[in-house]
Symmetry: C2
Subunit: 145 residues, 2 copies
Amino acid sequence: MDRVDWALLGALQEDARLSYNELARRVHVSPPTVAQRVRRLENAGVITGYRAAVDPTAVGRPVIALVRMKCYGPRCITVHPELLDDCPEVVEVVRLTGDICSVVKVVTTSISELERLLVRLGGYGETSSAMVLSTPIPWRPVTAG
Amino acid sequence: MDRVDWALLGALQEDARLSYNELARRVHVSPPTVAQRVRRLENAGVITGYRAAVDPTAVGRPVIALVRMKCYGPRCITVHPELLDDCPEVVEVVRLTGDICSVVKVVTTSISELERLLVRLGGYGETSSAMVLSTPIPWRPVTAG
DNA sequence: CGTGAAATACAATAAGC
DNA sequence: GCTTATTGTATTTCACG
């Protein structure tokens, strides 16, 4: 992780579709070197994927919520996330320290769909939900800082 | 948003670096059609960007936390997110309904750096933090479902 | 580990269906 | 609005320093 690696990481976090030529220009190394470095970062697990970011509202899923879970013992969704494989509305689950065992981000078409999902999640634990009004900072790159 | 658009969205959420040729092969339309459709999705605000996903642990930032904020009146960070412009550790802020005004995701190198950040955030409101133990579901694509 | 030069593959435009 | 064809450029691999 030298200065070149961080520059590549920064550029790819801002725009994952930049070509190796364009990256080479910005980082001031040759295109093959860029290709080699990027592959190294991928294989080392630093870059875990490249994703198009989709605005849920723009595709008819304007109802977003964060659900805090206190799971009932061994069926905890943090240890069995596959329980949610048939819930495409669930887009993220993070396991936490403290009395809240996880926070689940859900993206739904409507309040009633959200309600159905909360019923489903309620089967795994105590839920407490809050709707997302907006996302003042949707993301930030991880930097060398 | 017909079936082809959803297929393109799905493919680009899984791998944002797929070429138009490769996308054309998978979705069974011609490359120029892919280019046209993808550009339409970008301009319509459906695709808001393409980002490389970075594993914070792999770059020396293993201490991740979710901080719930109850801001003090008008200096609420949800209405003035620029207050956090000089905090690169803050990677996401979502505004919520309910008594918690926002949840802030922070990515830090160490517990002591997390502590410094909590002091800073404490200047804007009451904080309640929980550390991220793992991410059982780090993300999921938005689908036609 | 980095650079340079080869063949291959890709993107973009324009024209036609 | 989708496809085919063409042109120019980008990407990749290999060989070399």
